[in-house]
Symmetry: C2
Subunit: 108 residues, 2 copies
DNA sequence: TCCATATATGCACATATATTCATATGAACA
DNA sequence: TGTTCATATGAATATATGTGCATATATGGA
């Protein structure tokens, strides 16, 4: 791993990073990722769990798929989705920590 | 710290998280954050460093300020900005790792 | 006070994107 | 083959947002 950084990010890396973080900039995708962090789920389970339009969920799953944050397998008619990146949970936790700190909760 | 999670995020937390990650979903803000990770800089230094319009930089600094990701102090006419969140570097590193992994670089 | 410099900000515009609707695809099964 | 169920996707629309221009604010100096 990098010991302590080179001094500039390539233009391309900046755009790639922005695209990566775009996955987390929408509440629906956060909910999907968090739900899948609990356990793998098929589309209709997510639809019920998040109480949202099936089309909206599918569109967002496609976004997450294209960024390799989730993967899926077909089981008959259903598609079972699960997380495909070990960093998702850590990222979410860091976000949560930032918000708690910002709002003045040092403790649970 | 949380030992291992409660099973759902509040609606509000989801939106707060999305807002937090919005800070990282734009290449300009990534560049600003990365530059400030190297060292604190005033606005005109950022303008030169990133070769961008002063207005664009100021607008983005405001976004980052409002999310408490950067802070600044006034020194005469200039405003010296610096990072205000210890997680920024780690977040960026995790993004970089994800991209390298996705693109098949396991090593540097 | 007048001017130059540094930064911030309102407005307008262009682009990105989240959602819904309608429909397509595809699997299971009668 | 025809039907139903699960999911995906294209088109349309509404909303969000990044940027540049013009200008405002504030500081230091002549």
């Amino acid at each position: 791993m990098s010991d302590k950084k080179n001094y500039s990010l390539s233009e391309e890396m900046c755009y790639d990073l922005a695209d990566f973080f775009k996955n987390f900039d929408d509440a629906t995708r956060i909910k999907i990722l968090y739900a899948l962090f609990q356990r793998e789920m098929c589309v209709s389970e997510l639809v019920n769990e998040l109480d949202m339009n099936q089309s909206a969920i599918s569109h967002q799953l496609r976004v997450l798929r294209q960024s390799d944050l989730v993967k899926f397998r077909k089981e008959g008619k259903t598609a079972v989705y699960s997380l495909d990146d070990s960093h998702v949970a850590t990222l979410l936790e860091m976000g949560i920590e930032h918000i708690r700190h910002k709002n003045g909760y040092e403790e649970e």
